[in-house]
């Protein structure tokens, strides 16, 4: 996974009394940054507009910190909408600069923080967008896909960044993401930080099957077990393991037929690949790692008339190991670096791509099918109890 380790080294900011004076204030800040820069030339490059929609000030503060870390890499204008903040000034502006990789330029991006005080924000935000560069809308926190003001903002966005990882709200969050994706016939691309956070796991799992002869296993899957950090299986799995399992099933043509769950056995998805039965299990396990983080993935299959087991496992906070039982071909055990990536780095990855992620959308679709079957199973068991 790409890393965006660049740190910002200049942050100058000030309050703005009148939104119409924003441009002159920003010009003044650039002048200040150039003076501070000394011998290293300061450049302003605008690659994108990033509108961050934060429901409260605590979220907005965190969003500001994250935006600061990525702005010196992905230069552009950030408009941070602090929905709930009450301030005497309507806005503040900041300039965030960082040294380029070669070390010969200082690249700067700007943050305009709007204090909305509960009022409508699209009218304040839209005039501030820089024309002719893409607009990213980062929904920081829960998704308000029914709110008219939010929809107005959404309509100017080319790309939307969301986060499916809000603990305990997997189902409403995934449904909201699915709804968002369908607004305006799905014309904008959607990036999910939760999905990006399992990219290392998807990459590691894919690596098992880069050798063409081992790939035969993929059409003979018997069982998949996904273990993840979590306390119980009482309602709905966390989004990361659910999306991971959905991804694997969607990619391998495994269709869910029934879902069960119990505290002891976790989630058991009965499914079919072609005409063969497949079982996919999701097991929450107590762990010191963040809730929802994947712990291991084991795939059992038959290939060349034999059974095979392929395991990807977190061996530390930052490393995954890849092993398989050695049959015809023995690949060496491999350990890859896969640290838990901070939100700012996940966002930087999200903002680096213009492509629509069709695999993600298909995986969400399959995750929603599993959730629906889980609800059906719960309804059935409730009726049975009654």
């Amino acid at each position: 996974m790409n890393e965006h380790k660049k740190t910002y080294e200049t942050a100058v900011s000030e309050s703005v009394k009148n939104l119409s004076s924003l441009d002159s204030r920003l010009t003044a800040l650039y002048t200040q940054a150039i003076e501070q820069g000394g011998a290293v030339p300061t450049s302003k490059a605008v690659m994108l507009n990033l509108v961050i929609y934060a429901a409260n000030t605590e979220l907005a503060d965190r969003a500001f910190e994250n935006a600061s870390q990525i702005l010196s890499h992905l230069t552009g204008r950030t408009i941070l909408v602090d929905l709930a903040a009450k301030k005497t000034q309507p806005a503040s502006v900041s300039l965030i600069c960082g040294i380029s990789e070669r070390g010969d330029k200082r690249l700067c991006g700007e943050v305009i923080r709007l204090y909305a005080d509960g009022g409508p924000v699209s009218g304040m935000t839209l005039p501030l967008l820089i024309p002719n560069v893409p607009v990213y809308l980062w929904v920081y926190g829960e998704i308000h896909s029914e709110d008219a003001d939010f929809i107005d903002l959404l309509r100017v966005a080319d790309h939307v960044v969301v986060d499916s990882r809000i603990s305990g709200k997997t189902a409403p969050n995934l449904r909201a993401i699915d709804r968002l994706s369908k607004i305006d016939e799905g014309r904008r691309s959607l990036r999910d930080l939760g999905w990006i956070s399992i990219q290392d796991w998807r990459e590691a799992t894919a690596q098992h099957f880069d050798a063409p002869s081992l790939r035969r296993c993929l059409e003979q899957i018997a069982e998949v077990t996904v273990r993840y950090s979590g306390s119980d299986a009482s309602s709905v799995p966390e989004s990361a393991p659910l999306l991971f399992a959905s991804w694997l099933m969607e990619r391998l043509g495994i269709a869910p037929t029934e879902v069960f769950h119990s505290r002891d056995e976790g989630y058991r998805i009965s499914a079919r690949q072609d005409d063969r039965p497949v079982v996919v299990r999701l097991f929450p396990e107590p762990s010191k790692l963040r809730t929802g983080r994947l712990l291991s993935v084991t795939m059992n299959c038959g290939y060349n008339g034999k059974a095979g087991t392929f395991t990807t496992e977190a061996v530390s906070d930052t490393q995954l190991s890849l092993t398989e039982d050695c049959r015809d071909i023995c690949l060496p055990k491999k350990v890859i670096e896969a640290p838990d990536i901070a939100d700012a780095q996940l966002a930087a990855i999200a903002l680096s791509s213009y492509r629509k992620d069709r695999v993600f959308m298909k995986s969400i679709g399959l995750a929603l099918q599993i959730l629906r079957q889980l609800e059906l199973a719960d309804e059935k068991s409730t009726r049975f109890r009654l």
């Binding site: 010196s72 230069t75 380029s100 990219q199 894919a206 059409e219 043509g253 023995c330």
Partner: protein, 513 residues
């Protein structure tokens, strides 16, 4: 639903949609300069980016008598020298080093080759490479033919089981003239098939060279302009500020025409001139490039002095330091007439480019290190703002900057603020670094990856390589027949005065870079 397993279905949508098959990377000449300065650091960077397969080994084959361990130590030393940011201790280095092996060619080449074959046969099942071997010739060009023949002779050129692949990467110079290039192709093709051979030109691995295709074919406004109707002329400059460094013996036999024009310059020219390929498949792109090479007008011997200028740098002062002349360089004949500079004019005789001159210049010890393609458009057909403004209006230029400041610039006219129509050219710059904030991968990383992936799009095919020699050979012949001299030029200049005359005769001038 039946799965298609020709490619890994789990890779769709990942950062790397294709991955390298498990394989063994065999370096012929693994103790040489190219292996240590370029190949091994590039492979190490690929390892650090987790781009190499799990089943992977590097086997170096060279004359020296070294153990795996002592060879790894020499690699560690060269990687430390290649870039201080690459760690040579710790887990990254350890896991890379354990993939490296050494086989000595020894006194007897035949027994050395059998040792190599045995070592590959021993490693193959252990690391699961399934017979996939890539042979990289980082050896003197004179040894290419015999090494290829040897690989065929010991049965390493083809996988006997039929499951694995065998590939051969050959470095430039690929021949010294048309005849030797044809002969080398013939020998290579007697052991390997064309789709196994990857003739490398590292210029094509540069991000900005690849961006020529993106700029042309991903932007609707560009392509309609690039033809004889709108383009006045094209200039391609590949200038180096350094001299020949330690390459005296090689360079004195080669010269700028063979070293740069036959490969780098003509490859760049083909990317600027080619028609849109039907796809990015290797052969689709190479077919279009081949048509360009075939369309370049071949010079007659009597035209060569009108269309080319040779130069050789003299001694002098460069940036306040004394710089020695070419003839004073180490391993150079004191009476050498080898050109260290060439300026030339080409035409591409096809429908799109008929009549548009392509001026190229390349040399050592020039004013600065810069590679640029300048596409100059024609002037507007009528000066709307009055004849007095004719001098103010300069032609539009689209400049593709390959190095060192990678990017694209456009020069166009703008009105100077004021009550009257005063017109002035202005420049609009796109700089890769400012826009994307990160450096492009090294050209070798890209090319080694492509060779391991089996993507030959950035490598030369036999026919197109011979076609480039068919362009260059008449120039070599013309110079020989006419005994054309190399004009002296001072270090830090833009070449001999005669180079300016070449373009000035057409009423144009070299771009000021």
């Amino acid at each position: 639903m039946s799965l298609s397993l020709d490619v890994n279905p789990l890779r769709e949508g990942l950062t790397r949609e294709r991955a390298v098959d498990p394989c063994i990377f065999v370096i012929f000449g693994g103790t040489g300069d190219l292996a240590h300065r370029k190949l091994l650091p590039a492979l190490y960077r690929l390892h650090r980016s987790d781009l190499l397969p799990r089943g992977f080994a590097i086997v170096s084959y060279a004359n020296e008598s070294l153990t795996d361990e002592s060879y790894r130590e020499t690699v560690r030393g060269s990687i430390a020298a290649a870039g201080s940011y690459l760690p040579t201790t710790g887990s990254d280095w350890d896991t890379f080093a354990e993939h490296i092996y050494f086989v000595s060619r020894g006194e007897n080449n035949n027994s050395g080759l059998l040792d190599l074959k045995n070592r590959l046969a021993e490693l193959d099942p252990r690391i699961g490479t399934e017979g996939n071997y890539l042979f990289y010739f980082a050896i003197p060009p004179a040894a290419f033919a015999s090494a290829a023949r040897d690989l065929g002779y010991v049965g390493l050129a083809k996988d006997q089981s039929g499951h694995g692949w065998r590939r051969l990467v050959v470095e430039k110079p690929f021949g010294t003239d048309l005849e030797s290039a044809r002969e080398l192709n013939r020998v290579l093709l007697s052991s390997f098939s064309e789709d196994q051979i990857y003739r490398i030109d590292h210029y094509l691995g540069k991000e900005t060279v690849q961006n020529i295709l993106v700029f042309r074919f991903a932007n609707e406004f560009v392509e309609p302009l690039l033809n004889a109707r709108y383009v006045d002329s094209v200039q391609i400059t590949v200038a180096e500020s350094i001299g020949i460094e330690s390459r005296g013996a090689f360079y004195d036999r080669t010269g700028a025409l063979r070293d740069i024009v036959q490969n780098h310059v003509l490859q760049i020219l083909s990317l600027v001139c080619m028609e849109p390929p039907v796809s990015l498949d290797a052969d689709a792109v190479r077919d279009e490039k081949m048509k360009v090479f075939a369309g370049i007008r071949k010079m007659e011997p009597h035209q060569v002095e009108d269309y080319t200028v040779r130069g050789q740098y003299t001694g002098g002062m460069l940036l306040g330091e004394k710089a020695r002349s070419y003839r004073e360089e180490r391993d150079v004949d004191p009476d050498s007439t080898t050109e260290t500079f060439i300026a030339a004019k080409f035409y591409v005789d096809n429908w799109r480019w008929a009549g548009v001159p392509f001026y190229v210049r390349t040399g050592k010890r020039l004013a600065k290190r810069v590679t640029e393609i300048g596409i100059q458009l024609k002037t507007v057909p009528k000066i709307l703002f009055g004849e007095s403004h004719r001098d103010e209006i300069t032609p539009n230029v689209i400049a593709l900057n390959i190095q060192p400041d990678e990017g694209i610039s456009m020069i166009f006219q703008a009105k100077v603020p004021g009550l009257d129509y005063r017109i002035q050219p202005v420049k609009m710059d796109f700089a890769y670094e400012s826009a994307f904030g990160e450096s492009a991968p090294d050209a070798y990383e890209r090319l080694l990856m492509d060779a391991m992936l089996g993507d030959a799009g950035l490598f030369s095919r036999a026919d197109s390589l011979e076609a480039t020699w068919e362009v260059v050979q008449p120039i070599l012949d013309g110079w020989r027949i006419k005994n054309t001299s190399a004009y002296p030029y001072l270090p830090g200049s833009w070449g001999p005065r005669e180079s300016s005359d070449l373009i000035r005769r057409d009423g144009r001038g070299w771009r000021r870079l």
